[in-house]
Symmetry: C2
Subunit: 228 residues, 2 copies
């Protein structure tokens, strides 16, 4: 599957995401009409990701955010109750999307090798489609409260387990050689993360997301494939 096909299939438009957020946080959002809310949430979240990913969420002031999103200070507060809640909402929505998309992707009837390829590709394409979000999740995780930080760790371990489950299944079925599936899953995650954390490097080198998916998959397979 190419990245374009993936993008068409999952339909991760900012509008859709913001509509979901609206209906899940009606009590926090003082504006009533969906169309107005979605338009402004798209604006606010995009501006937040843009500013945060340059200078960090904490260093971004609400006055900057107001300027960047062409809204007033008071206007912003119709869409969240505090700066911290703005951070929480963006993070939580990210975990939800990641979880849903990945679960859906690996829920196929295929042999472990195909499943592994599907999972690697899906995770990578997802992080490409939502690059600013993924970068944000990673870099701002420490600014979350205790409770939210636990969710971040849970999310990390959840996606890792998707990979280790596939690897363990492959070992059980004999198509993967004996190895440590948790460690291998951890390495896969590390390589996947590099794509969105060091986006500048791969852009500069003109590495496409499809090519990177191939590289990671082959790099992994060469280590776990049985020789028969």
């Amino acid at each position: 599957m190419t990245f374009e096909e993936f993008s068409d299939r999952v339909r991760l438009s900012m509008e859709d995401i913001c509509r979901d957020i609206f209906y899940e946080n009606r009590e926090a959002i003082k504006v009533k009409k969906e169309a107005v809310v979605v338009k402004n949430l798209v604006n606010i979240y995009n501006a937040t990701l843009r500013l945060s990913n340059v200078k960090g969420f904490h260093a971004m002031s609400l006055r900057e955010l107001a300027r960047e999103s062409s809204m007033s200070l008071g206007g912003l507060y119709s869409y969240f109750t505090s700066k911290e809640q703005l951070l929480d909402i963006i993070q939580q929505q990210g975990y939800r999307i990641t979880r849903d998309i990945l679960a859906e992707t690996v829920d196929i009837d295929a042999d472990p090798e195909e499943k592994l390829k599907a999972a690697i590709t899906a995770h990578l394409y997802l992080s490409e489609a939502m690059q600013p979000w993924f970068y944000f999740f990673y870099m701002e995780a420490k600014n979350l409260g205790r409770e939210e930080q636990k969710k971040a760790i849970a999310s990390e371990l959840y996606t890792e387990q998707i990979f280790s489950d596939i690897l363990a299944q492959g070992m059980a079925e004999g198509c993967f050689a004996n190895h440590d599936p948790v460690m291998t899953a951890s390495l896969i995650k590390a390589m996947l993360q590099d794509w969105y954390l060091k986006r500048w490097k791969y852009s500069r080198r003109k590495v496409t997301v499809e090519a990177y998916a191939e590289v990671i998959f082959n790099f992994t397979i060469n280590n776990i494939k049985t020789n028969n």
Copy 2:
């Protein structure tokens, strides 16, 4: 080489590092006597790393830093000219140490495979010996000024090149199969970084730094070793 042997050899005591910083930044430090400066710099930098790695450098106030380091607000300003300079000094020192240690480690007369193992091990052990520093470099890079950010990127590419050079040499000598050395070096870096970025995960799983070095080396070698 075990981690303990490495630690003994490189002698990366906080005191030594701070003494270097003192002599390289005498104009910024208003206190004159080495013993006093070193004692307080150790205090200040440790406190800075401790606080920053929990909540981020920007979110750390100088009042918190004063409390954590048991110094006064005014006292702190005898050891740096601004909060931003404090950040710069810590970062720069880190690049210098990394560069020196790595260059020294790979400057050996050995075949590419041994060199690769030495480089991976040295980078990993170094990041373990200076875990708070490395975490700090990574997470706070975006808070640097334009100039300092370029140095951060240069440092990233420099260490990557150490690996790609070894891989290219191995290809030229025929002991490594044909592959993309820059891409492989990038993957190695990604896996190395995971060690200090996700320290909690490996601690929890009781993975030793020696074991992780083995894993990364084998994972890489399995991909590039010729079959003869």
